[in-house]
Subunit: 124 residues, 2 copies
Amino acid sequence: MRIGELARRAGVSPRALRYYEQQGLIRARRTANGYREYSEADLKLVTEIRSLLTVGFTLEDAKPFVACLRAGHESGADCPESVEVYRRKLAEIDDEIRALLVRRAEVAGQLSTACPGCVLTKRE
Amino acid sequence: MRIGELARRAGVSPRALRYYEQQGLIRARRTANGYREYSEADLKLVTEIRSLLTVGFTLEDAKPFVACLRAGHESGADCPESVEVYRRKLAEIDDEIRALLVRRAEVAGQLSTACPGCVLTKRE
DNA sequence: CTTGACCCTGACACTGACGTCAACGTTTAC
DNA sequence: GTAAACGTTGACGTCAGTGTCAGGGTCAAG
């Protein structure tokens, strides 16, 4: 299939696919006229990339998963490199959550000082 | 005082001060040679901006606080517009925390599927 | 033959808060 | 007198993942 069809089926733009290629995540054979030609396996790669991106991963993070799929594994997570990315991401998310909780407390403190009673304490 | 002194006392770079001015947050008188001249009140403005930025506010968010100080109030939060920004920010932070908790759960789920026992459940 | 739907590459736009450099004028200290 | 340290404006670089042109080529249907 060509880029337009893959884009529709994967739910992304052709522009995004070219960008993924440029970043070294996917590759495409070229037909005689220079058009990119994709396989079903490529659809699987792009689907994996998309699901990772929507969970907050970067394209860089997604690389091990793509490599894992290309190596023949069923899931992109079936490789130690992918698992390592999962663990790192989990730690990053935890850090962000902690930082946000601190910020929340600071802002809530300021707000209650500036306007006692304004804090509705939605959480907990 | 000139820009270098204000920058040192406020703990920011001269570049940042020029940027704040460009964004309409601070203003400076000019001496005959074109140098910016600041007052103690300006130091207070910049200090307010910095403390808001470090809590995750944008320069746009900081504008009502600066306006409030310029209007003569002791605290930048002594105006309804500032309080409104506080409340909005609090809601934004809560949204971000909720989104991160969802992401955390998704990633943790994927990780436990890919590598049972890898999730160390640091939280709770 | 031409219209329209594709495809190509290359490159700028965007968001935020600056860092950094260029190319220049001013002030201060020795 | 001169060099360091300061000031000025202007403009590009950063990070990520595209959107959106510009300016082409390709191909099937009518």
